[in-house]
């Protein structure tokens, strides 16, 4: 039983903005940030590509910069798609595209970490000793290592600033793609530092330091990739909704049940909530008190009041049941 046929349901209702003003604003800023990220990364990719030379570490940093273009692109594509209203072919709307983008971002992180590990481990095992010679700048010979260090330092600054801003917006938007992308930006920053350490190591004649520094950073990037991949898969396979950073089950599930239990005619209530991206899809099973037989309007009222609890409770279905079905809403 569903309240879909309620008289209060109008065509306009499905078309009203999904996100409240604060989140709309956050989304707009996030889109702007991601465009900035793309522009900055494109410049970085070009400049690092030009100064790379024979250095393996710089080559790795370059490939990593290329990979970090993926999450912003995924985010921008997804944030466009979610604007579409639900229709007959997409009865749940388009919000899941955020989940798909999250998967793309997670895979990008994982590939980047794996690539770095393989690259620096082979460098270490085969004792690759990166040669770095000079460059002639304005008629003066200058060790290319200094130029590379300057480029890496400059390319590490923007991601730190962008990453910090993105984390704040990810919280407001409950956006896991943005969160994963912010993680990626932090990874960019730490690989920049690792590359600088490696270059200084080369300068000191410690050829192995390059590979070791890269390995340390790669290990932490892989762990982030795995964390994000698990989270993305959890989301796409309808696991219990969790907070934007995956640290805890989302508190809204409990709040929805409590709210339902507060209704006069409700004896028992259980909700199953899945994460559609920014918003949640809620199925609420309610058991009426003995002798109560609430009409459809009552159910629609309950549904609307649940939706008003939080902007994230976007798609809510209330089902009247004689008892909470254990296989649908396990406790």
């Amino acid at each position: 039983m569903s309240p879909r046929d309620s008289s209060r349901e109008t065509a306009e209702d499905t078309r009203r903005p999904v996100l409240p003003p604060e989140q709309q604003d956050a989304l707009r800023r996030a889109v702007r940030l991601e465009w900035t990220t793309l522009a900055v990364m494109a410049v970085t990719v070009a400049v690092v590509g030009l100064t790379t030379g024979q250095s393996q570490a710089m080559k790795a940093a370059w490939i990593e910069d290329c990979l970090s273009l993926l999450p912003p692109i995924a985010f921008l594509v997804a944030s466009r798609r979610i604007r579409r209203p639900s229709d007959r072919d997409h009865p749940y709307g388009h919000h899941r595209s955020i989940g798909v983008a999250h998967l793309v971002a997670a895979v990008a992180l994982l590939v980047m970490g794996t690539f770095l590990v393989v690259d620096s481990a082979t460098g270490l095992l085969t004792a690759e000793k990166p040669p770095i010679g000079i460059m002639v700048l304005f008629g003066q010979p200058l060790w290319s290592g200094w130029v590379m260090i300057a480029v890496m330092a400059a390319s590490g600054v923007a991601p730190v600033v962008l990453g910090r801003k993105k984390i704040a917006l990810a919280r407001t938007l409950h956006d896991k793609v943005l969160y994963a992308d912010a993680d990626m930006n932090k990874a960019d920053w730490s690989t920049a530092v690792a590359t600088i350490v490696g270059l200084v190591g080369i300068g000191l004649g410690l050829w192995w330091l390059d590979a070791v520094a890269a390995l340390v950073v790669a290990a932490s990037i892989i762990s982030d990739g795995v964390k994000n991949l698990r989270a993305a898969v959890r989301g796409l396979t309808d696991a219990r909704a969790r907070s934007y950073d995956e640290k805890e089950p989302h508190p809204l599930t409990g709040q929805v049940e409590e709210h339902a239990l507060g209704v006069r005619w409700v004896a028992d209530a259980a909700a199953r909530v899945r994460d559609e991206g920014h918003v949640f899809h809620v199925e609420l099973f309610v058991v009426p008190r003995p002798g109560q037989d609430p009409p459809a309007v009552e159910l629609a009222g309950l549904r609307d009041s649940v939706r008003e609890l939080d902007w994230k409770l976007h798609d809510v279905v209330v089902a009247l049941v004689p008892e909470v079905p254990g296989f649908q809403a396990p406790r």
Partner: protein
């Protein structure tokens, strides 16, 4: 090695700062990993030469001449070193350099040389027209990891270029 990102980054940063600190008071920067430049200065520079006129020519008596050979001799004189030539085939000499039995490799190598994983190719010291009629950059080979030697040689080559 699953360090949390923050502590990993901090550790890397700390190592980096410590290294930068020691960089100021240690010898040449960049340094060699096997101290080749220090050993060659005031001693011998072991150079593998493959014959490739007019850049390098090996006489019957073992004497080495040619434009590039002269350049190497002049460089050696500048660092107070004497050249010890080892004639041979490019592929064999490249492996000898990689194994550390030679310090350098010359013989009209171009920047498109296939030996870039055996030796470090220097910045170009001249250009020549290749067999395909295309302009090619002439480079020398230096033992990998010996960046003090590489920088010292490249600085010399850059000075020659300016005249």
């Amino acid at each position: 090695m699953m360090l949390p990102r923050r502590s990993a980054a901090r550790a890397v940063l700390a190592i980096g700062l410590a290294l930068l600190g020691t960089a100021g008071c240690a010898g040449p920067f960049p340094a060699d990993s096997e101290d080749t430049l220090a050993r060659a200065s005031g001693g011998t520079l072991r150079v593998g030469v493959s014959e490739n006129p007019p850049w390098t020519e090996v006489g019957d008596d073992g004497s080495v001449s040619g434009v590039e050979a002269e350049l190497v001799t002049r460089y050696a004189a500048e660092i107070g070193s004497r050249v010890e030539w080892t004639p041979g085939a490019e592929s064999v000499l490249a492996q000898e350099v990689a194994a550390g039995r030679l310090d350098m490799l010359v013989g009209g190598l171009t920047s498109r040389s296939p030996w870039s994983s055996e030796v470090a190719l220097t910045r170009p010291w001249g250009t020549a027209t290749g067999p395909d009629g295309q302009q090619q950059e002439l480079v020398m080979g230096v033992r990998l990891g010996e960046n003090a030697l590489l920088v010292s040689l490249e600085t010399f080559l850059a000075e020659q270029e300016r005249g």
